[in-house]
Symmetry: C2
Subunit: 382 residues, 2 copies
């Protein structure tokens, strides 16, 4: 096991009805800004529950944070935070809203020309507006970590950032009943997203980190055992609760501690979203089989362990095929041809490879996935 630091101070309030308890988690006298997306929380009753729970607090609202939250939108929220003297942010939504709210929290204290350098250059901000979250869509794990991913419309770019100890939510509410009204596509995406978060931290090379391996495998088992039930049966609250907690565990630092990490599937996927507009999880399921076939040799030992312990198979190819089957069975596409709305996939591939070549991008746990390997990975996904 490699040496590591682990720190995760997010307080989790898990279960039906927990939204009612948020008032006790927010400092008294705070002026709160509730941030949310397109308004689904007004249809599913979450908005009403949050407003009720916030009685006693002065609050303002900032809505319209989109999927793949945009820098341009978030900077409008930053203006509002300053104008309204907001001192607590409450993100009510999925990963995009929570990611965006972390960026708002940091950018409020950013001093400089262009706050997007927090993403592109990893500029560190030493303070952030404190925030909490009410999760409405299990997927990204943002509710229990300090990172986020922000897109910039003007340049069609998408970059990740972390605010260190400043952007952990003080608390996150995980109420599985909020999933009752989720569209099927978002359920599918959530399961795939969490699954691939785990493999990014697990399918590298062995470092004898047994707890991390067992926990990773545990999360994968939970997603395989509950995924289909969660997607097909909206009323199965056990499955929803298990998927929800699995998504948080997949990216809260625990299985990352002391092990090498990959994240190439994500980095390539981000480019596909930025250029072609596919959902984040759709891009992951598309890239995953190609990446693991092309990188099979250097990932061999962990792929064999994964195959044996998760799928009960003995070869690398079976392990990859079973995983792709799983994605397809729960309803996610795994090839460009599954997405006819992408009119010219070859042009998408060419643009990604051009960007990686220009930037000198090197991905993966060995930093050996360059634009040439990326092309090999993606050409196999047409």
């Amino acid at each position: 096991m490699q040496h590591f630091q682990f720190y995760n101070p997010v307080k989790i309030l898990f279960g039906a009805g927990q939204i009612a308890n948020i008032a006790s988690q927010i400092p008294q006298g705070s002026k709160v800004m509730m941030t949310y997306g397109g308004g689904s929380i007004k249809q599913n009753g979450v908005y009403k529950q949050v407003v009720k729970a916030l009685s006693g607090f002065e609050f303002v609202e900032f809505s319209g944070i989109e999927a793949n939250p945009r820098y341009e939108t978030l900077m409008k929220a930053v203006e509002m935070v300053k104008r309204e003297n907001v001192d607590f942010l409450l993100a009510v939504g999925g990963g995009s809203v929570i990611d965006g709210t972390k960026f708002i929290a940091l950018a409020t204290y950013f001093e400089g020309e262009d706050a997007y350098t927090i993403c592109t250059q990893g500029v560190k901000v030493q303070k952030a507006v404190p925030m909490g979250a009410v999760l409405t869509l299990p997927a990204t794990g943002s509710e229990m970590n300090n990172g986020g991913v922000i897109s910039r419309e003007s340049t069609h770019e998408k970059f990740a950032f972390s605010g260190g100890r400043h952007t952990f939510p003080c608390f996150s509410v995980l109420d599985p009943t909020v999933t009752l009204t989720l569209p099927k596509r978002q359920r599918i995406n959530g399961v795939v997203d969490a699954f691939i978060h785990v493999t990014e931290q697990y399918l590298t090379y062995p470092v004898q980190a047994d707890i991390q391996d067992r926990f990773s495998e545990g999360i994968l088992h939970v997603l395989v055992d509950n995924g289909m039930k969660y997607i097909d049966n909206e009323e199965d609250m056990d499955a929803a609760a298990n998927v929800m907690w699995a998504c948080s565990m997949a990216l809260n630092g625990l299985i990352a501690a002391g092990v090498p990490q990959d994240w190439a599937t994500h980095r390539i996927g981000h480019e596909i979203t930025a250029i072609a507009g596919l959902d984040h999880a759709q891009t992951l399921a598309l890239v995953w089989p190609g990446l693991h076939r092309v990188m099979a040799e250097s990932k061999r030992e962990k792929l064999l362990q994964f195959g044996r312990r998760i799928w009960g198979v003995d070869t690398v190819e079976e392990a990859i095929a079973r995983t792709e089957d799983f994605f397809r069975k729960i309803g996610e596409g795994t090839r460009f041809s599954d997405y006819p709305q992408v009119e010219n996939p070859q042009a998408v591939i060419d643009e990604i490879c051009r960007r990686f070549e220009t930037r000198g991008t090197l991905l993966g746990e060995h930093a050996d996935i360059d634009y040439i390997k990326t092309r090999e990975i993606l050409q196999g996904r047409l």
Copy 2:
């Protein structure tokens, strides 16, 4: 899954040499009190490393915290904290030193006649001296939680307490190389202690908490896979690191979240330690097989799952027998007859049952283990 709150803000510094990094974790200008036990840290080099890391801080020392730390000893430390105006506690030791230091942290701010009521009556103290820990003995998990167990010499009693959010260590250093000089008995006890911490939270009845089950099983696998190597081969740093991290994970709140808990093995074991002086883990391994046989019916489903997933066996009795075999194989006794120093085990059993009858004690996840069932459990362990 039951609803729950989860919160664990302990920062973990894991790996060889991490002691050198503690200075950056302690508020500048703090007056530190280092607490430790019998002085083994002076033989194994930990004391020197800590003193070096604390250069720049004014500090005092309080030594002599014993295994099963005593109220009487700890109150002397409280006097020293007050007299010396200490504002940060640094526990350097195993579970006893860390538990004891949590009690010192709380008792410093206790206002009342008898600080032991923090244990016996669960009196809540709303403030504590902040503390950090340097772990020297993987076992109890105290380095990553807010609880402790304190004995009172004058009454031969042993009780648990928790200080809520006030007694989480701010940080804990987990350096597996500190185990190099541990006596074999303490290694054995550590593995058994962690194993049974897990089963107290896992072997109850199913509530479809799949993450918690998989993580519990993961920790048990890690202890089974690494336990023997850790105990028999002092130089196996991979095994030591895995056991060390497993011990922290076994009792940091993660596998407890949203599930029923038992703790009867611990409660009965505490009495045996208080009356007969056996090591904590020795008492657990002694009670465990008896308790799980007597309670087999109400634990049936989880015992079968445990048997299948951990030992690859199909019956409750095999699951229990394999577990007892494991304890014996790594060198822990599982019967009173393994401890000839306990001259009159029957008297110990009688005294425990007398206490439970007097107190009206009801243990276990269904609160149905009374003094009569306790007798049945213990009579089978002679």
